[in-house]
């Protein structure tokens, strides 16, 4: 099976604190002082510019994903999931490391970002499609299918600024889902719109899976992941805690999460489930 994504030792460093807070003249001033000090005392480095605090949002992340496989990325908030996705989709660059991506990559929900409010739904389909790297011809071939899927036939020539937020998301989802980029990112809320459209979304996602697309899933329910994804990448504090078959990784992840919760819990509450103890806690005042 050919490779879809190859990530080698990807690291991303972020600077904290004062970055970008100074004005133009403050910058000029401090750089001048720094320059003069360096000129006077060449031996001493870092006089006027102390090293800024930083942290590694990702550290040495490597993995390989084959064409047609589904990858689940799991981890707590701030583990680096979105940073990794941003790097893979070229929104930001890694500080170190390298990734090779084979095919177009798009997220099913973030597509609507390129919509122009004054443009009609029709024009926005073309605008967004070309932003994703599709040719006008490809979009024209699928145009009817996109409109049909979104259920917005009647409104397709209305400027999208007059759309309801539900209609807006439906159109955005339809563009990416029907154009079928080779690598699809499925973010948390794949179910958008009303109940009927939700059902359509799930069916569409199922068919994306069946068609053998490469899919990256983030922020999904663990049970859902066990059923749908082949490989799982567990990130913790920006590092790969585990990478392998989903069942195995998710089992370890759940155990670790439960242990973490148990540690925080008082012994008396250990008996019940999290919800039961919460319910008990809420019930206390009335008793």
């Amino acid at each position: 099976m050919p490779v879809a994504i190859e990530a080698h030792h990807i690291s991303k460093q972020f600077f904290l604190g004062e970055r970008n807070q100074r004005t133009f003249f403050e910058d000029i001033w401090s750089n001048t002082i720094f320059g003069v000090q360096r000129f006077l005392q060449p031996g001493r480095a870092g006089l006027a510019q102390p090293s800024r605090p930083s942290f590694w949002a990702l550290h040495d992340v490597s993995f390989q994903l084959h064409q047609g496989e589904t990858l689940a990325i799991i981890g707590e908030n701030g583990a680096g999931k979105s940073t990794l996705l941003k790097i893979l989709s070229r929104i930001t660059q890694p500080t170190k490391g390298k990734a090779r991506v084979f095919g177009r990559l798009a997220s099913l929900l973030e597509v609507g970002a390129g919509f122009h409010p004054e443009f009609s739904g029709r024009d926005n389909i073309y605008l967004n499609g070309t932003m994703l790297g599709f040719s006008k011809k490809e979009i024209r071939q699928k145009f009817d299918e996109i409109v049909d899927f979104s259920g917005l036939e009647k409104f397709i020539d209305v400027p999208v600024k007059n759309y309801s937020s539900g209609m807006y998301i439906r159109l955005a989802f339809s563009v990416a889902a029907i154009l079928n980029p080779e690598i699809v990112i499925l973010d948390e809320v794949i179910a958008v719109g009303d109940a009927a459209f939700k059902k359509k979304c799930f069916e569409r996602v199922e068919s994306i899976f069946k068609q053998g697309h490469t899919v990256i899933m983030v922020n999904h329910e663990l049970a859902h992941l066990r059923r749908m994804s082949h490989r799982c990448l567990w990130l913790r504090h920006g590092q790969v805690e585990m990478f392998g078959p989903t069942n195995e990784v998710v089992t370890h992840y759940e155990r670790a999460m439960n242990e973490a919760v148990d540690e925080r819990r008082r012994p008396a509450e250990l008996a019940g489930s999290e919800y039961a103890s919460a319910a008990a806690f809420l019930a206390t005042p009335t008793n």
Partner: protein
């Protein structure tokens, strides 16, 4: 569908430090359809929900020319070569508007597109290029109005001959566009750090116009200020533009060479800074 189209020997793209966003000609060419759609988008969107719509193309330069006519021709008595003042001012104003709109629109690239840039990848240079395209598209009907004005003068007996150098006009416009692109990209890169810079740019562009031979020919510039005009690339380009239209002035070789050198330098610097800014700006803005 597309799985069969992927070439598995070559990755579609590689992400690594310093080489993330490729703005080289080949990848820009691949997005040419996006470029055209963006030009169309901005062209159309600018006149949606306005009272005069596309008539703004004509009204604005006309009103500005009338104001110049009163101030610079009637009150200040500045020469306008052999041309009727209205034609002289109008030709200058439309080309200056083209240049200054290009600079200010390109300068806003990162500030206005932050939302899109944070979600979808495409070569970022497409945005500034499409702004240049839109403004070029805005300029053409204005040039048409200028020709109508010339025709009107000719009919009323005051002959205005067009120069045989008319073919050089696109070249002059190209040089102005390149200068605007370079300068705009440079400012755009700086706005990633200093967001209020664009306000200063607006004022600078207003001032700059008065030193760019829009209101008077080179011959009317006081000698103690002529060095300023010589070093100003836009002055040479505006002069060049007018001489390719009417032939009432002659382009000066020396200043033109200086102008072209400055343009190439600024374009190279601007594009390099833009490339550097586009790599990291999502971490900043």
């Amino acid at each position: 569908m597309p799985a069969s189209q992927i070439d598995f020997a070559e990755p579609s793209y590689v992400v690594e430090p310093g080489k993330l966003l490729d703005s080289h000609p080949k990848s820009l060419w691949a997005y040419r359809e996006l470029f055209l759609l963006l030009v169309k988008r901005d062209f159309v969107a600018a006149y949606k929900q306005t009272a005069l719509g596309p008539f703004w193309f004509f009204v604005q330069p006309f009103l500005a020319s009338l104001a110049f006519l009163v101030v610079f021709s009637q009150i200040a008595r500045l020469s306008t070569t052999d041309l009727p003042p209205l034609v002289f001012y109008m030709s200058g104003i439309i080309v200056w508007n083209f240049f200054s709109n290009c600079v200010s629109k390109v300068a806003y690239t990162f500030l206005l597109n932050a939302q899109v840039f944070r979600k979808i990848y495409f070569p970022r240079l497409i945005m500034p290029l499409s702004q240049i395209g839109t403004n070029l598209l805005n300029f053409i009907p204005q040039l048409g109005v200028l020709f109508l004005l010339i025709g009107f003068y000719n009919l009323s007996g005051r002959g205005i001959a067009l120069s045989s150098w008319l073919f050089a006009l696109p070249l002059t416009l190209g040089l102005m566009a390149l200068l605007a692109l370079g300068l705009g990209c440079l400012i755009a890169a700086a706005t990633v750090k200093y967001r209020d810079l664009t306000i200063v740019v607006g004022y600078m562009l207003n001032l700059w116009m008065y030193g760019s031979l829009v209101i008077c020919p080179r011959s009317a510039v006081p000698p103690n200020l002529s060095w300023l005009v010589t070093l100003n690339p836009m002055a040479s380009f505006v002069e060049c533009y007018r001489s390719s239209l009417f032939g009432t002035e002659h382009s000066q070789g020396g200043p033109l060479m200086i102008a072209i050198a400055i343009t190439l330098l600024l374009a190279a610097l601007g594009l390099a800074c833009f490339k550097k800014a586009e790599r990291t700006f999502t971490d900043h803005i």
